[in-house]
Amino acid sequence: MAVFLVVPTAVVVVQAFRTDDGAPTLGNVRELGNTDIVHALVNSVLLSGVTAIVGAALGAVVAYAVVTAAPEGLLRRVVTAASGVLAQFGGVMLAFAWIATLGLSGLVPTLLRDHLGTDVDTSWLYGMSGFMLVYLYFQIPLMVIVFLPSLDGVRPQWREATESLGGTTWQYWRRVAGPLLAPAFFSSTLLLFANALSAYATAAALNAQSTFILPLQIGNAIGSEVVLGRQNVAKALALEMVVIVAIIMVAYAFMQRRADRWLAR
């Protein structure tokens, strides 16, 4: 297993600094300063950031709604199963689902045209805002999955204790549950960020030609047979992603440790 995980990563790191002939160079890394690539990086971070924060907030609300139901009930099972499928299985299929919904002859534009007589322009689906919407479709379920256990760790006794001391609901959330859940919430958000950052399948299926986010840039650089030397630029791009994800994951580990202190069973 080391061969299939460690070696590829090492290859990425080493070859990011090599030319196609194997000579050491900083050219590939310098290429990262390219306006196109900087643009992709900014877009990627923006896309991941927005969908992580919005997805985490909405996912937490859904998870809370599920937790208030019976723990062994059917509702909870259905929601967990659906979240599992949507979070894991997505990729290409999710892109299709949204094209069927909002594409040129999709469900929503057709309905609006037939019943309200208005033509809506949904070409934004293939741009930044469209990507955000589609990404939320797998970010929210992922949040539900990773946040549910933390919510389960909150004991009802804590609420009773707050109440017997005269605390209101607001005070309970503000002073007890909020601070307790905050590390778990933030660490889940970071996980969502990393998840969105590395998502490739959905983006490729939605809009393979464009290169406005990093994974698509890498994909194109790998597939490029026209411009020589792009192969190692792909490695430099990959290195850039590893660095970003590494930063995220260090923050994640830190948050996780704080969360475990309170919510460990």
Partner: protein, 271 residues
């Protein structure tokens, strides 16, 4: 229950239905759109597309590369699940019993793939697969090695949860005390007790392999997802129908799985 408690329960119930209602609208609309898309034609609703899906012979004649993709994905699913189980279950049990000091490093190693995006892995995998091709041949089924790595974090968590729920040490000591050999302890004591965990780990594995697109497509292999994407360029209706069918099937499988495990737990509590 106190008055505030009752009021809160009522509030929570309303909130629950509101939130879940909205969630259902958001998550079901695209699926519904897929259903509409795959059954619409210039002459109204038709089920031609779905009927076509059932004719395997015709399908393989019209879309050979798609059927190839399905076949490869099916093989990869089986290989990856088997490889994952063979690799992970004995090792994890052994580490738990004999080498507790290795637990942290092992956990770290298993969760590592979560931190390295698949797209990065692809970039580095090319030279590795040049070696694989050199040693064991160019077949696409060796993608299963990469997939095992991808599924490790999820499988590890599932199996770890299963092993934590039983007392591995006591069980195996009891069995050893009664004269069972190590393989026998493993086969007839440990494995049956963590069956649920094994099933859910395998299921995660299945979902991941069936849904994998990045590695296969960038290494120019033709699996289910790559096939679907190619299909969509020729006959969008069929590709959408296949996607919907796969999503729904996966969902139903998971539901059945959770219901089955739920029953088992109840049996244990009452019995």
């Amino acid at each position: 229950m106190s008055a505030t408690g009752r009021r809160r329960a009522r509030f929570q119930r309303r909130l629950r239905w509101l939130v879940l209602g909205l969630a259902v609208v958001f998550f079901v609309t695209p699926l519904w759109a897929m259903a509409v898309f795959s059954t619409s034609s210039p002459h109204g609703v038709t089920f031609d597309t779905w009927r076509q899906l059932l004719h395997v012979g015709q399908l393989s004649r019209d879309y050979p590369s798609f059927v190839d993709g399905v076949r490869l994905s099916a093989i990869l699913v089986v290989l990856t699940v088997v490889l994952m189980l063979v690799l992970l279950v004995p090792t994890m049990t052994w580490v738990r019993l004999r080498l507790p000091a290795l637990r942290r490093p092992m956990e770290f190693l298993c969760l590592l793939p979560l931190t390295i995006p698949a797209i990065v892995l692809v970039v580095g995998l090319a030279p590795v697969y040049a070696w694989v091709t050199y040693f064991v041949g160019p077949s696409s089924v060796w993608l299963c090695f990469a997939y095992v790595v991808l599924v490790l974090p999820y499988a590890y968590r599932a199996i770890d949860a299963g092993l934590s729920a039983i007392d591995v040490r006591t069980l195996s000591e009891a069995a050893r005390g009664l004269g069972a050999s190590w393989p026998r302890v493993f086969w007839s004591v440990i494995t049956p007790n963590i069956r649920t965990a094994l099933v859910s780990a395998s299921f995660l594995c299945v979902a991941l392999v069936l849904g994998e697109y990045t590695i296969a497509s960038l290494m120019s292999r033709n699996n289910l997802q790559v096939g679907i994407l190619q299909l969509s360029q020729r006959t969008p209706a069929i590709s959408v129908a296949v996607s919907l069918a796969a999503l729904v099937l996966c969902f139903l499988l998971l539901i059945v799985l959770t219901l089955a495990t739920g029953h088992r737990r109840k049996e244990r509590e009452t019995g």
